[in-house]
Assembly symmetry: C2
Homo-oligomer: 74 residues x 2
DNA sequence: ACGTGGTGTCAAGAATATTTGTCATTGCCG
DNA sequence: CGGCAATGACAAATATTCTTGACACCACGT
């Protein structure tokens, strides 16, 4: 019984544009991480820590699940 | 403008007992992490990755925010 | 008294997330 | 055309999370 593999998707890019052309740098500043970190997370290179995830959700004033979705791969 | 400090609290212990005496080991197996990891997260030694957080929530069949809460310290 | 299961904890190392610095590309505006 | 802001990308260094193995402690049943 192999533990389920999980993929995490996010809506950051869409939310940035819904929030008035917010740039990656703007978002990074508001979250408190570097621009490269926002870029990597937004591009799905890796998924963020729970802290960072919560802060992204707070910036967009959304529940965490509206920003990040957990997909089971089997 | 220092970026807000964040503390993450969790309801894992309560949820384990609501779920019929589930042990840390049981939970660890269902999440796919080690018992020590569950112990550390439950005890707030550090907060989990987003993947692990999602899987904990799935085990308890709760939204992520019902398991982990993000508290602003100022 | 003895064994056992559940838990707390530690240390070393592997794996992953994050930072900083740097460079290339693209689109836009003067 | 020339400059600039936004983005994508990479590498090296640091930080954090997670694993494995070990040991102690306590509560419980026999």
């Amino acid at each position: 019984m192999v533990p389920a593999k999980v993929v995490i998707r996010n809506q950051i890019r869409a939310l940035r544009f819904e929030s008035g052309e917010m740039t990656q740098q703007d978002l990074a500043d508001r979250i408190g991480v570097s621009r490269q970190t926002v870029n990597a997370i937004e591009g799905g290179k890796y998924s963020p820590s729970l802290e960072v995830a919560f802060r992204v959700a707070q910036v967009f004033d959304k529940p965490l699940e509206a920003v990040f979705q957990c997909l089971m791969t089997e």
